[in-house]
Symmetry: C2
Subunit: 138 residues, 2 copies
Amino acid sequence: MLSKKTKYALHALTYLGKHREEGTVLIHDIAEEHGISHKFLENILLELKKAGMLGSKKGKGGGYYLIKEPQDIPLSRVIRLLDGPIAMLPCVSLNYYEPCAECKSETQCGLNKVMIQVRDETLKILENKTLQDILKLE
Amino acid sequence: MLSKKTKYALHALTYLGKHREEGTVLIHDIAEEHGISHKFLENILLELKKAGMLGSKKGKGGGYYLIKEPQDIPLSRVIRLLDGPIAMLPCVSLNYYEPCAECKSETQCGLNKVMIQVRDETLKILENKTLQDILKLE
DNA sequence: TACAAACCCTATAAAAAATATAGGGATTGT
DNA sequence: ACAATCCCTATATTTTTTATAGGGTTTGTA
């Protein structure tokens, strides 16, 4: 399951996508719309900003805005950023690889090989679904 | 990512599959082979047994054994049993459904709809990969 | 029948991660 | 000047995961 952080991030991105002609959107408005704690959401938006998915404007009249087209924001990107690996095991993760302690040789581990296949097929899905897909179904 | 519980379960099932002509296998042997705590693994095997995936025999000469053919044990089954939902959000889970607090109407939530699609495609993968696929790659 | 081997069961401790809150700092428009 | 708003970091709280503990029950065998 996705963490609440990632779920909230997706809601926020959707909200920003819907209102992207309005210039900027307040954290407050997103938080209120979805009943999310303002401060918690603030941290999330900050992460998204640091990752280059959002822009912001400080001071009065400021807020957040998307700096990419919704079709250029795949779910895989958001999930990796906030939840970490998409792979089911550390030993098959592309972005967060770690060897596993319990198998002697990765190349002889059937679980490892199957999980590489699962990872690749899962990635196909999550790289092809984008914010645009969410927006067009609202 | 899978929990260690699920990962260990998959290793254990693989081990049991490999040795299924030997009658029964000791917890001890599986734990030692993969460097897993005996007691932790014991709890896991017990769960697998209660779920009808394993049989056991008590007393001297006892142990665990598979009671299904490896091709009849899909990854989805093991994951659901030990880790819970495969869906990314509670509001799209088939087996662990819960409404979500932050969207007003599920039928109008684009995220919900996209996640149903993701769930269905993910299930296709995890229902089709079985213990047999792991075994044949060892 | 005694005994040791092995699984069965439940409770609890320890560690890690997720969730949430807090509070002040910096910037900006009016 | 001031209020609105994002920026940053630290810490508290809760939940989940991981691991341990200890005794109970069953079974084969000498």
